[in-house]
Symmetry: C4
Subunit: 119 residues, 4 copies
């Protein structure tokens, strides 16, 4: 089943500096979840945008056919405690969802949204 | 009133292993909420995608006419503590929303989003 | 400025039975936020769907021109602790967003999403 | 890469009066995150809508080319503890996401959604 679009954007992004709780599950993180429900691998390019400097990237990722990849922005070279945003470009249709777990305080907080999609 | 689309996707999915609080309301869970506002039953097929193995399913569900069904992914055979994603395919238009309650820590956290829709 | 659509749906709905904290701000609640940015009043009809019984409604609401209305589902006759869903139908374009504050435990949790839109 | 639309709306808005935790990161806030991934600056006009009075604005903001701007509604003249909503109008395509951090109680809560888009 092929579902999704080729271009996605996430306007929010911020990796808190602090964390509480068990590592790595409860480390503060920002995740881009990508689903490739189709039968060809997805070649993905991620660009990171900042408020005060030129964009970083593209970072190259592959999401294999019929697989999901939940990529923590923490694994890219993004400074902590800085506002950022991202675009995700794929050569085949994918679906992108954005999630943050914030464990700066003793109890974790969560948020999620399907990203903005465009062909 | 008929509203919605036939194909939906949720790129995020993760059922935490731990829970705190009253069972079953405050058990950590991941839910797919389906609304069938039309006058015919919706025959739904759910596929589950992973990062490192072939997809599971389809799981068959029926959402009766003029009814909502909030299905916990916990009720399907999905391993806990593993990243997953899902597609939801219906023979009549439905609306799909994704919610997680995470009670790994003493206080629960929530997140939700309307899923990605496609005809 | 006219923005929005006429038909909206929210597939998730659940008003927790318990609350902690200052009333009414921190009472557990489920809200439908409606924005009418246009110059004519919006006549709105809300239907409530359940998992095991016929829908309730329509409930009639007016959102005046150039106004927002954040309506707590708690103010309608919806039983607590039961899954529900809703459709929102307006005679002029509006924008609808769904929010829950859950204060069942000592610390409150939040979630939000733009609802599903259709003309 | 040009991505996004020119008109956006956020139906939810509420700046809690109280906060806990380190200032300014953990001050209760409501944010509009804007991404301008294109090569021309975005001239943005923000209108704020209330439940019981005429709208406020437009507030003028510029999001430079290839930059993101995470603007706290707290920085505009919006009364705390009051329901509001907003529209965001740009002369070039942008992507808009809405986030709230609520630290009224000891542990913070988060929510986010991509805003409603229209050309």
């Amino acid at each position: 089943m092929e579902i999704g679009k080729n271009n996605w954007a996430i306007a929010e992004g911020y990796i808190p500096k602090e964390s509480h709780g068990k590592f790595p599950e409860l480390e503060s993180h920002e995740t881009v979840c990508m689903l490739n429900a189709g039968d060809s691998p997805a070649n993905v390019e991620i660009m990171i945008y900042f408020s005060d400097r030129e964009p970083l990237g593209p970072f190259h990722e592959v999401v294999e056919a019929r697989r999901t990849k939940h990529l923590r922005f923490n694994s890219l070279e993004i400074p902590k405690g800085k506002d950022f945003a991202s675009t995700i470009k794929s050569d085949v249709p994918i679906v992108v969802q954005h999630t943050r777990l914030d464990s700066r305080q003793a109890e974790n907080a969560l948020m999620t949204t399907i990203a903005y999609a465009q062909n």
